[in-house]
């Protein structure tokens, strides 16, 4: 894949122009990545609001009816319930991996199968999450299996 960067003061905002002969997985992933770079989620930490870009989210977890957004080193709280976030993030590289977790596949480091049919994923920040059996087939589909 080739890319051209045109740098000039005449441009008011950054614009991405994709030229392709057909929409293959590579192009789709690129679009997902760009979407993640431009869309953000309003989260709260210590009574201060933050805008977290989708692409910075490692995973989202729901605990006791509260939703927490995890980035590389931080944890924020959001008012959105998990099912709503699942809908918001459906065109990104995020997917539901259990009843209480949404994972960003971009930060996967490794995957390990467990004897009970679940998968254990390790993220780039070395956190470990479990993919429940209900979501294992969807997870495999994301990798073309």
């Amino acid at each position: 894949m080739k890319y051209v960067i045109k740098k000039s003061s005449i441009y008011e905002e950054t614009e991405v122009d994709i030229k392709c002969c057909h929409m293959d997985d590579e192009v789709k992933n690129l679009i997902k990545y760009i979407d993640g770079m431009t869309h953000y989620l309003i989260c709260k930490k210590d009574h201060v609001n933050y805008s977290i870009l989708f692409c910075h989210i490692y995973y989202i977890e729901s605990v006791d009816h509260q939703t927490f957004v995890y980035t590389k080193e931080d944890c924020f709280q959001t008012k959105h319930p998990l099912y709503e976030l699942e809908e918001i993030l459906k065109n990104s590289s995020c997917m539901r991996i259990s009843k209480s977790t949404i994972l960003n596949l971009s930060y996967l480091k490794s995957v390990k199968a467990l004897f009970n049919g679940k998968y254990e994923v390790t993220l780039e920040n070395n956190e470990k999450l479990l993919i429940s059996r209900r979501y294992v087939s969807d997870f495999k589909k994301k990798f073309g299996l």
């Binding site: 992933n29 596949l105 971009s106 996967l108 480091k109 490794s110 995957v111 390990k112 199968a113 467990l114 004897f115 009970n116 049919g117 679940k118 998968y119 429940s132 059996r133 209900r134 294992v136 087939s137 495999k140 990798f143 073309g144 299996l145």
Partner: protein, 130 residues
């Protein structure tokens, strides 16, 4: 389609294992009752039901729940085939051990399949995400 092929694979493997185990038992324990045609049909039907249940239950989260469901189905099947006289302590323990063994083998096969997929995913991650 993959589910159906998994189901038939589990059915044939477990059927073969149970029949072989029966034959081995008859070789070493002469006093044990010879395997009859009715028994073979029973084994085949039970193996088929178990594999169908396992393939579908593999999406549920509790391994213990799938095990319990499968065991209940097996005992209901045995009751339908042989009636109440099947439930002697020896028969009960013997079938419990065999079925637990099959269950263990099936989970081992599923684990092996999942581990193979995990390796493929790891390769994909190394190639595309890194």
């Amino acid at each position: 389609m993959k589910r159906i092929s998994d189901m038939f694979l589990i059915t044939s493997c477990s059927f073969m294992l149970v029949v072989m185990f029966n034959c081995l038992c008859q070789t070493f324990f002469v006093e044990s009752r010879a395997i009859q045609v009715k028994d073979i049909y029973n084994i085949l039907l039970v193996c088929f039901i178990i594999s169908g249940l396992l393939v579908n239950l593999s999406i549920t989260d509790s391994m213990l729940m799938s095990y319990m469901t499968v065991m209940i189905v097996i005992y209901v099947m045995e009751y339908l085939f042989y009636g109440a006289e099947f439930f002697t302590p020896v028969n009960f323990i013997f079938s419990f051990i065999i079925m637990s063994f099959i269950f263990f083998i099936v989970y081992l096969v599923l684990y092996y399949e999942n581990e193979k997929d995990a390796q493929k995913i790891n390769l994909f991650i190394q190639k595309h995400i890194k």
